[in-house]
């Protein structure tokens, strides 16, 4: 399978590297995308190239240090920023030229790499990986048939936990919706962590995207043209539909968030609906319209306020719970909107975080910035 796929892919990737030398895609992110699309051989070679250049660099400099004309800009930069030297040639537009037939690909440089990685390209390695994958899949399938029947009477060694949840959630937490009671109260610590997973994902993507490299003029024009082509801004059908749908989506999302402790739903699902509404609005009317009420600043404010109040609320709840103190929050009348103590505000802040995260991730991956 892998052999044929490789054969199918290789002419495509070959041509793309050839055209790539004309395009000179320089930003690190687009090169990463290249890697994901076209397989990693080209970039592996580039990596090895930078490694072996590093190797070659000292001999080089010691040989020609007297003249100093070989790499003048490096010598100048090296005085202030010695750390950048080994990497400084990665971001230069050399990429694309270096790949096809440069002497660096010749086997005489093979001893520069760690020898243990050499077998990755061998045919038997590919076959072995396919066979191992199939074996693991077979093993897992076989074991799944040995698992206890889903929903059977003797499924769990002991099902006291689930039985307890069904009986006590309403009394303990005041939530009519047991799922919300479990995720925000009994296992609220996990959910606290999970919300911060969303936060850290956005931060990590921001961190990666802030490594832009120098987007040249041509590339910017290219991406603007692509946007025109694939994301029609003034599509009448889309706009008419969005004009009707967006308010409904927002109201429905808010309803799911606010009613999370009473009916199926809650912060996560409601936040996802809200985020989808934002994305729909943005697609139909473009960035100028949406940035009248939702900018990067809004995103930061909402997510910071939500996460901080989440941590503080849960921290207070954990603290009073563990010390057996009265927390002074009344459970209220089960079934009414203002009930279940902290669950309503918690649902609201989770909804805020999820909506912001969804929209931010979409925007960042589409535009490359936010």
């Amino acid at each position: 399978m892998s052999e044929t796929e490789h054969a199918k892919r290789s002419p495509a990737s070959g041509s793309s590297t050839e055209t790539g030398s004309g395009k000179k895609r320089s930003s690190a992110f687009s090169r990463l995308m290249d890697w994901l699309e076209n397989g990693d051989e080209a970039l592996e070679q580039e990596m090895e190239a930078t490694l072996s250049e590093e190797d070659a660099a000292p001999d080089h400099s010691s040989a020609v240090s007297g003249e100093g004309d070989e790499r003048p800009e490096h010598a100048g930069k090296g005085a202030e920023t010695p750390y950048n030297i080994p990497y400084s040639n990665v971001n230069t537009p050399k990429y694309g030229k270096i790949i096809p037939n440069s002497p660096i690909n010749k086997p005489d440089n093979a001893d520069n790499r760690t020898r243990s990685v050499d077998f990755y390209g061998k045919w038997w390695y590919r076959w072995a990986s396919v066979i191992i994958c199939l074996l693991v899949i077979g093993l897992l399938m076989a074991v799944v048939t040995m698992m206890p029947q889903f929903g059977g009477a003797d499924t769990l060694v002991d099902s006291e936990v689930s039985a307890y949840y069904v009986e006590h959630t309403l009394k303990d937490t005041g939530a009519v919706n047991i799922v919300t009671g479990i995720i925000l109260d009994y296992r609220g610590f996990d959910t606290l962590g999970e919300s911060h997973v969303l936060f850290i994902a956005v931060c990590a993507v921001l961190l990666m995207l802030s490594i832009k490299g120098e987007k040249n003029e041509k590339e910017r024009l290219h991406s603007a043209a692509m946007e025109q082509l694939f994301e029609p801004k003034n599509d009448v059908i889309l706009q008419s539909a969005a004009r009707i749908l967006t308010p409904i989506v927002f109201v429905f999302g808010l309803y799911i968030v606010f009613n999370g402790h009473l009916s199926p739903g809650g912060g996560f699902s409601g936040g996802a609906v809200l985020g989808a509404g934002l994305i729909l609005y943005q697609n139909a009317f473009g960035y100028e319209k949406i940035e009248r009420f939702f900018t990067h600043r809004t995103f930061r404010a909402v997510s910071v306020v939500c996460l901080l109040s989440y941590s503080l609320m849960k921290g207070y709840h954990f603290f009073t719970g563990a010390n057996h103190l009265e927390n002074g929050i009344s459970a209220g009348q089960p079934g009414s909107i203002f009930s279940a103590g902290l669950l309503l505000p918690l649902n609201i802040v989770v909804g805020g975080v999820v909506a912001c995260t969804m929209y931010a991730l979409y925007t960042m991956f589409r535009r490359g910035e936010f």
Partner: protein, 499 residues
């Protein structure tokens, strides 16, 4: 039961870093870096206080997260071992920030520094949470945070090669997370529990009745392999050299000394507290023993063949992880204590090695080959001394931490006897010889004369924070080597109240 005031410290150690991380993300770079440094220092102090109080009371306590306790709600469990590990981790984080500060300022652009600080604060929160948690699923949630944070810490420098290393790291680690989650959900499907004590009891009951042996074994195997991917146990280590070698100094030190170790600590928790009286962990242990032996030898061999300075240090991490697994796979308390001690000794030595190696490279115009770093010990004296001490500790020169941990490992093997003893002693001997071959060779290269080379860099700027961190780490190494017994005593007490 009323709690003492200090028993709230674990909660503070988890929630405060979360809050700091969120605040860091909106501060400017310089302020965020201050918050991150201050937070890690505070974490060290709080962990030390926690260790003092748990040792004084010499019993572990359970902290319920919320009103409802086990088995329905979440729990933290804190004993001597947990607070000792927590202290070690937060000390490493603090020293890594301190010692890598100059490199950090140069490698991470100012417009990214606040995000880096946010990642580091979240990493601190995840470390405390994974150290203290008594719940398998909570551990998984914080594994996710650790994985993403680690990936971002690698790629923060944004120089071409780190991006590839980070992407490979991400792919391999997500595979590990996936396997762990698969095993965890199978186990939950069988037992209906997620908290370690209840899980242990249920597994024991299942094994006694002989029900579902296949899925039980597979779930533990999946979790072990998943964690093996994450902490770079030998056959699953291929992401390691590039990730460790291409990140900035602080990130490399954290990756090798903290992030891989916290996964191992989690695995120890699973083995000794969730796997049902250890009856059954034995069979996995045999395989792990083999992996560890091969990993120790091959890691060292790869390090010898490596032609790049920082990748050589990264390769040696594979072999050191092998030592830790060697201790765990003996299956005895002495073996586990030796593994714990090696976690401490290796963290102290490896942090120093990575930080000083970066400094030495800086003193060689950033060159990474052995020809470049020739004579670097004279150009950066503090870093050279620190590297020498760290290398000696890893090799196992007496009076340093690495020696003590090798002695404890050998002792654990001799107590056990049988073929494992012979294999363990032979591995230790061979690997010590190999360690000498690459670490001391490097140390010699560092102090070779560089007179025939053109003077590359006149003088590095004076870096007080780096020197302070190196002095502190050197004294930790010496303390572990000379006064290993009290630490070992603490570990034994911790293990006795662990199960």
């Amino acid at each position: 039961m009323r709690l003492e005031w200090w028993q709230n410290l674990p909660l503070l150690l988890i929630v405060a870093p979360l809050i700091c991380a969120v605040i860091c993300s909106v501060l400017n770079g310089r302020a965020a870096r201050r918050v991150m440094t201050g937070l890690s220092a505070a974490a060290c102090l709080l962990m030390a206080a926690l260790l003092y109080f748990t040792v004084r009371d010499s019993q572990s306590f359970v902290y319920t997260m919320g009103e409802i306790g086990a088995p329905f709600g979440n729990e933290l469990r804190v004993g001597v071992l947990e607070s000792l590990m927590g202290l070690a981790f937060s000390l490493v984080v603090f020293f890594a920030i301190l010692g890598g500060r100059t490199q950090l300022e140069r490698d991470v652009a100012p417009n990214r520094m606040h995000l880096y600080a946010a990642m580091l604060c979240l990493l601190l929160a995840a470390l405390s949470a994974m150290t203290f948690t008594n719940d398998l699923f909570t551990a998984y949630v914080f594994i996710e945070i650790t994985t993403i944070a680690a990936c971002a810490l690698i790629s923060a420098t944004g120089k071409g090669r780190t991006l590839f290393a980070a992407t490979r790291y991400m792919i391999m680690n997500l595979l590990g997370s996936g396997l762990f989650l698969l095993g965890l959900s199978m186990l939950y499907g069988l037992t209906g529990h997620l908290l370690f004590p209840q899980l242990g009891k249920s597994v024991e009951a299942l094994l006694a009745e002989g029900r579902y042996p296949g899925p039980l074994y597979l779930s533990f195997i999946l979790m072990t392999v998943g964690i093996g991917f994450k902490c770079a146990l030998w056959p699953f280590h291929t992401w390691l050299p590039n990730a460790y070698a291409s990140a900035t100094a602080t990130s490399s030190a954290l990756l090798s000394s903290v992030i891989s170790k916290i996964y191992i600590f989690l695995l120890i928790k699973i083995f000794f507290r969730a796997s049902g009286a250890q009856v059954f962990a034995r069979r996995i242990e045999d395989v792990l023993f083999g992996f560890a032996v091969v990993g120790i030898i091959l890691g060292s061999v790869n390090a010898i063949r490596e032609r790049h300075f920082s990748r050589m240090i990264a390769h040696s991490s594979v072999s050191q992880i092998g030592y830790i697994f060697l201790g765990i796979s003996l299956g005895t308390e002495a073996g586990m204590a030796a593994a714990m001690f090696h976690i401490l000794a290796h963290s102290a030595a490896k942090t120093m090695l990575f930080l000083s190696a970066n400094k030495l490279r800086a003193a060689s115009d950033g060159g990474d080959s052995f020809a470049d770093i020739r004579g670097a010990g004279f150009r950066a004296p503090a870093a050279g001394l620190a590297f020498l001490v760290g290398a000696c500790s890893l090799v196992g020169i007496p009076a340093l931490g690495g020696f003590a941990s090798k002695v404890y490992l050998a002792q654990a093997g001799i107590d056990l006897g049988g073929w494992r003893m012979i294999a363990l002693l032979a591995t230790l001997a061979v690997s010590t010889a190999l360690n000498v071959a690459y670490l001391l060779r490097t140390a010699l290269i560092l102090y070779r004369s560089d007179a025939d080379q053109p003077q590359k860099i006149s003088r590095l700027p004076h870096d007080g924070a780096f020197i302070a961190a190196m002095c502190a780490l050197m004294s930790v190494n010496l303390a572990l080597g000379l006064a290993g017994y009290p630490v070992m005593d603490l570990i034994r007490r911790g293990i006795s109240m662990f199960a």
